[in-house]
């Protein structure tokens, strides 16, 4: 029987199609008796969804001064 640590590792590999048939069977037999690892598997998929989502997290914006500074930096670099 594989351990929970191994099982979580294989759950992730399985998401990417990187698990052999034998490993898959071992994983499934672990999952039938381990509710924690089953939860982990569900949550791992949810996490993928959250990570994939174009999160609308608050990113700062460039100020006009930033842009001016960048422009003069570029101008200098190119002339130099």
């Amino acid at each position: 029987m594989i351990t929970c640590k191994k099982s979580t590792e294989w759950i992730i590999k399985k998401e990417h199609g990187n698990l052999s048939v034998k490993q898959n069977l071992q994983l499934l037999s672990h999952l039938t008796i381990c509710s924690f690892c089953r939860l982990f598997g569900e949550q791992s998929l949810l996490l993928n969804k959250a990570l994939n989502k174009n999160n609308i997290s608050n990113s700062p914006a460039l100020t006009e001064l930033d842009k001016k500074n960048m422009f003069s930096y570029i101008k200098n670099k190119i002339s130099g």
Partner: protein, 183 residues
């Protein structure tokens, strides 16, 4: 640089600096580094204007240069970030979940995904990952690069890659559970 060159760069900046900033900030999370990457992009674009076919789409062309600069950035950061991964405390000596770390049921997960605050917490949890873990995550989940490519750029082995993804997932899951779902 003559006036015409200045006009070209000025126009690029007017059109694209906000888009490029948002795109890059999402991945790099450091305004100063983002500005550096953008400057490099515009300089490199200016040096290569002759290679730009008028027929091609200017925005696509500039974006391709930006993306290359971003890969250079990842590569350099990975070089700086080679440090031992912190050991985990999620499993006991027989590698079963410890009581404090065993997964709990997440209530209302789908609601969370439509909540802006959830992503702030997710960002905080991501920022707690090691630098190398963050790089792998950004390349994998935001840029959606292939595993082989990520390993090549960051100079890590495939087995190392899986260890990193595994640990990061465990860390993120735990952090979200403690700071969002467990509340």
């Amino acid at each position: 640089m003559n006036a015409a060159d200045a006009d070209i760069i000025n126009e690029w900046m007017k059109k694209y600096s906000d888009i490029f900033f948002n795109y890059t900030y999402k991945r790099v999370k450091d305004s100063d580094m983002v500005k550096d990457i953008m400057q490099e992009t515009f300089i490199s674009a200016w040096k290569n204007t002759s290679s730009f076919k008028k027929k091609a789409d200017e925005k696509t062309w500039l974006f391709a240069i930006l993306k290359n600069k971003l890969i250079d950035h990842y590569r350099l950061q990975a070089k700086l970030a080679m440090q031992p991964l912190n050991s985990d405390h999620y499993f006991d000596e027989v590698e079963h979940w410890t009581d404090s770390a065993a997964p709990l049921v997440w209530q209302n997960a789908n609601e969370a995904f439509n909540n802006k605050e959830f992503y702030t917490v997710l960002d905080i949890c991501k920022s707690k990952l090691s630098r190398l873990q963050q790089l792998v995550f950004t390349m994998k989940y935001i840029d959606e690069h292939e595993t082989n490519f990520i390993c090549k750029v960051l100079k890590i082995t495939a087995s190392n890659y899986w260890v990193i993804i595994h640990r990061s997932k465990l860390n993120l899951r735990n952090c979200l559970e403690k700071n969002w779902f467990g509340k």
